[in-house]
Amino acid sequence: MRHGDVTVLLQRLKGGDESAGEALFEVVYGDLHDRARRMLGSGAGHTLQATALIHEAWLKLDHAGSDPGDRGHFLAIAAKAMRSVLVDHARAKSAAKRPDSRQRVLLDEALAVYADRVPDVLELNDELDRLAELDARLARIVELRFFGGLSIAETADVMQLGHATVERGWQSARAWLASRLGPDGAGPKGAPGADGQ
């Protein structure tokens, strides 16, 4: 990913250009995919690759722009990208598609990281969409916190909300999602663990 592109897109996004958000997402998304492929190509230890994938995705954010506003936008988009990558992969797995066995291993690992915290990434994805309909702000908090790995403070910063607001919102969203995904919830259950299928 060329930082120049990102900077321009961020500028456009700030200027209210909605299409720039999509374009930016494409850039980040594509970058994550490329990154995953390249790392696998190097033939080194899997685990580090998974870590590096995540770290690198985050690392990009530091370079995106010195303007805190830019950074916020970028964090949000990176979180969205992570969500999308993982969901795509989970979807491919459940459809028993094996596009690239080596890439699968990497994304399996990345997915495993999340799978321990949520029974089923696909379910979570669906429920997050539902939550967004009920309360878009809560859904964003989840996206930033869970997929973006941001702390409460960072999330508050990005969303320009108070610390307490984010904290309460996070608890509500989490509880609501858990009630629908967890064992006692009303929603469909996913098998726990990474190799859940």
Partner: protein, 867 residues
């Protein structure tokens, strides 16, 4: 449920959370009593909130990695399982490398630590290596090393890769070294580290490098003895050094890695890699913290720091610590393995010396070692790896350097540095963290390029053996230098060695620019610092001293320069052996200074020695060899050995063209030198060609005021005069004079030479009044510098009188001039004798005046002239 319903649920839920747990359900029921569906929703949320703490917990880097591991574990270990002759009892640890279990051995009956590694042995080859290595490990036997008792592999299910395991001594109640030592007195801490060094040395002597020394692997048992665990396991399992530590301890371990490990240079890993880790441990023991300041969440930043930043000296964090311990840690943790202690034993011995209050082997750390080495090598353009990394210290000091325009002729050399960087980049990129490494390499490459360009210019100028050049628009280079010079003082506050190194480089660069005053200021500043660091920094001190001495010559006082250099020569041979080209450089500069002050014969042995030594040093030094050859040629010419002289000039020119290219300034000067010689031998056509070549080159290359241009203009004007092209010669002479005045001011010897040469042309052109004024000016100036009776003073005075007389032959002034000239002759006769060159110049002038004006006694003057 719609969004307004959800809002109510949410509000009820959040309000309830503020209450004690047992009151919450009632609270939401009460708040939502009008809508049982919403109330149930809120209740479910409360239940979910209470039961599942981990749900959606944002993953930290550590947990991400941990979980990935668990996912990858193919063989599940459980209590009661039997592995080899061991029965698993309970897990006692898990980390990046795998799981550690307490296990029971039946015979002999004892508890052991069984470590089942995470990674599989995928190939037959890796399996064989594991078996070989584990045999080596089993032979390690030292009280400071936890013994490997047995090893084997667990076959994976469904043909999955087998997992290697080791059974090791279980060290009861072990604590990490750093944790154990926290409250101990300094002496005890150092003794513990020395113990660790000795244990590590034992492994080294048996060909095993630990590769992963860190507090968790350097334990202290209940008896207070150091026990190193996991010795050599990294290699036995064929892990790359990065993935070895890819576990939850990734970030913790990275902080104990050496630069060569971080860069993934597996071929660069040897015992000194462990020395580095021991250095980090030492640092930790001394200060209670890691040497690295990077936030551990940023892998790349930390890796960069490990590779590029010298840590804060421990004594700055803990003022009670001795500076000597700063030196020991700096040496143990040096970025380049060559600069570290050569072995763990050396570090142990050094600690022993410190504890015994004996002098240490380590000296004050020098942050710009690489830059120093760069200078020492003089023309080693190789900028690679750690050298480049360290050089970046300098790069960051001059942010404006990036503006500096690329130097055409430096490209080839830059390309060499870039090639190396690229090579390294691709080697690094082949490693695990490919993208981060590549980005890092690219950034380094970029900065190295920038620095390369800067150093290129500097070292181009670092040839102060007579040929100095500037290679780009002077204003640009000059601005860059001025900025660098002003920054260096505040860039390295309190870091005098760094300041000295940088100021020396900047001084050299000014020198190359011909800005001798600025050069002197910075080199003098550097030399004072180096003088305090003798003999450790003898090389730099000698170099700075030589440059200062030579600068005196460059600024006009050649005799003093020769004297200084002669003294320095004696001192330098006491500090440096003859593997230092610097000694040859002194000889070369000395030859030059002697020649400039008229001691041509004396200069020959120095010029000869310098040339021969530089040729021996190899092609890197051919520019210097060429310069020394030029000095030699100049001197042999005086001896009258025309053949040797011409050979010397031609070989010098060849060396220069080879080193700098045919269109370089240096090649221009060489052409000019050879041309001057040939012209003196009456080989006019050849000489003329060489001069024209030199002019063509230099007009392009040196378009500003520059001492070298001024000198060449002077020579050229003289040559053209001899060729009879008087108007052309006058034009050149005027340009030469003006440049010298701008460069040196009106009274400098160079300026006076130009004044005199212009006067000469003016006499031939019949511009006697102007000639008279110019020669008189030269005479006054030279008298002040050289004395009234010096040949050159007398010459100028005689030519001034001659011109005055010729200006208006019939005038009284002409008569006066003739009389004065006669008096001057008598005076010279008295002081120097009839055949002295000064006396003869007066005689020749008198004869010309008498011939031109038919005044004075022509025959008398003719008699005075000795053929």
């Amino acid at each position: 449920m719609d969004s307004s319903g959800f809002r109510r649920v949410r509000e009820a839920f959040e309000a309830a959370l503020a209450l004690p747990a047992e009151a919450r359900v009632d609270a939401v029921r009460s708040a939502l009593r009008d809508d049982p569906d919403l109330a149930r929703e809120a209740e479910r949320m409360l239940a979910a909130h209470a039961t599942d703490e981990r749900f959606l917990e944002p993953p930290s880097a550590e947990t991400l990695v941990d979980l990935a591991h668990r996912h990858e574990t193919h063989v599940v270990l459980q209590p009661g399982a039997h592995i080899g002759g061991f029965e698993l009892v309970r897990p006692i640890g898990a980390g990046g490398m795998g799981e550690v279990w307490e296990a029971r051995q039946e015979s002999p009956a004892r508890s052991v630590a069984l470590k089942a590694l995470r990674s599989g042995l995928g190939t037959e080859r890796s399996r064989r290596r594991f078996e070989e290595e584990s045999q080596v490990l089993a032979r390690l036997s030292h009280p400071g090393i936890a013994k490997v008792l047995a090893s084997g592999v667990l076959e994976g299910p469904e043909g999955g890769p087998p997992r290697p395991w080791f059974a090791m001594e279980l060290i009861e109640g072990a604590r990490p070294l750093t944790a154990f030592a926290r409250e101990l007195p300094l002496r005890r801490r150092l003794l513990l580290l020395r113990e660790a060094c000795v244990a590590v040395q034992h492994g080294h002597l048996r060909g095993v490098i630990h590769r992963d020394l860190k507090p968790d692997n350097c334990l202290v048992d209940l008896e207070g003895r150091v026990r190193v665990i996991d010795f050599g396991i990294a290699r036995a399992t064929g892990e790359t050094d990065l993935s070895l530590t890819a576990g939850g301890e990734l970030l913790g371990t990275l902080g104990y890695m050496s630069p060569e490990q971080v860069l993934g240079l597996s071929e660069g890993i040897d015992v000194r890699t462990d020395v580095h880790a021991l250095g980090v441990l030492l640092y930790h023991l001394l200060t209670g913290r890691s040497p690295w300041i990077s936030d551990s969440s940023s892998w790349t930043a930390l890796a960069k720091e490990v590779c590029e930043r010298d840590p804060e000296p421990p004594s700055r964090l803990v003022p009670s610590l001795s500076r000597e311990l700063d030196w020991v840690t700096a040496r143990a943790m040096a970025k380049e393995p060559d600069r570290r202690y050569a072995s763990a034993q050396d570090l142990a011995d050094e600690l022993g010396r410190y504890l015994d209050h004996q002098p240490l082997h380590a000296g004050p750390p020098s942050a710009t070692y690489a830059a120093r080495k760069f200078v020492r090598r003089n023309r080693a353009w190789v900028v690679g790896g750690a050298v480049a990394a360290t050089l970046l210290l300098l790069g960051s000091a001059g942010t404006g350097w990036g503006l500096y325009k690329s130097v055409e002729r430096g490209r080839e050399l830059e390309a060499r540095g870039i090639e190396l960087e690229t090579e390294r980049a691709s080697a690094v990129a082949a490693r695990a963290d490919a993208e981060a490494a590549r980005a890092q390499a690219e950034e380094r490459l970029e900065r190295a390029e920038m620095l390369n360009r800067f150093l290129n210019t500097m070292l181009r100028g670092a040839n102060p053996l007579g040929v100095t050049t500037t290679t780009s628009s002077e204003s640009t280079v000059g601005e860059m230098l001025d900025r660098a010079a002003s920054e260096v003082m505040r860039a390295f506050p309190g870091q005098s060695v760094l300041e000295a190194d940088t100021r020396l480089l900047i001084g050299l660069s000014y020198y190359g620019q011909g800005r001798y005053e600025s050069a002197q200021e910075h080199i003098e500043g550097a030399r004072q610092i180096f003088a305090d660091l003798l003999p450790e920094r003898a090389f730099e001190w000698v170099r700075a001293s030589r440059l200062l001495a030579t600068l005196r010559g460059r600024r006009g006082d050649h005799a003093a320069a020769a004297q200084d250099l002669l003294e320095l020569r004696g001192l330098a041979h006491g500090y440096l052996d003859d593997t230092y080209p610097e000694l040859a450089a002194i000889d070369s500069d000395l030859a030059w200074a002697l020649q400039e002050s008229g001691q041509l014969t004396e200069s020959i042995p120095y010029a000869q020695a310098a040339r021969d030594r530089f040729v021996e040093f190899g092609p890197e030094f051919s520019p210097m060899a060429a310069t020394a050859a030029s000095h030699l040629a100049r001197a042999t010419r005086v001896l009258g050995d025309d053949e040797a002289t011409e050979a010397a000039y031609r070989s010098a020119r060849e060396l220069i063209v080879g080193a700098y290219g045919p269109l370089s300034v240096q090649a221009g000067v060489a052409a000019s030198n050879l041309g001057t010689f040939l012209f003196g031998k009456g080989r006019n056509a050849e000489a003329r060609e060489l001069f024209e070549e030199a002019i063509a080159i230099l007009q392009i290359e040196l378009d500003g005021d520059h001492p070298t241009v001024a000198t060449l203009l002077y020579n050229l004007g003289g040559a053209v005069y001899e060729l009879g092209e008087l108007e052309e010669s006058e034009r050149i002479s005027i340009a030469c004079l003006e440049m010298n005045e701008r460069l040196w001011g009106p009274d400098h010897s160079e300026t006076l030479d130009a004044v005199a040469s212009l006067g000469l042309v003016q006499i031939e052109l019949g511009q006697f009044d102007e000639a008279s004024v110019n020669f008189e000016r030269a005479a006054v100036g030279r008298s002040a510098q050289l004395g009234p009776d010096h040949r050159r003073t007398v010459y100028a005075r005689a030519r001034a009188l001659e011109a005055r007389g010729l200006a208006d032959p019939g005038s009284a002034a002409a008569v006066d001039a003739a009389v004065e000239l006669d008096e001057l002759y008598q005076h010279c006769l008295e002081v120097s004798g009839p055949a002295a060159s000064s006396t003869q110049t007066v005689a020749a002038a008198g004869l010309r005046l008498a011939s031109g004006t038919a005044r004075g006694n022509r025959d008398l003057w003719a008699e005075r002239v000795i053929e």
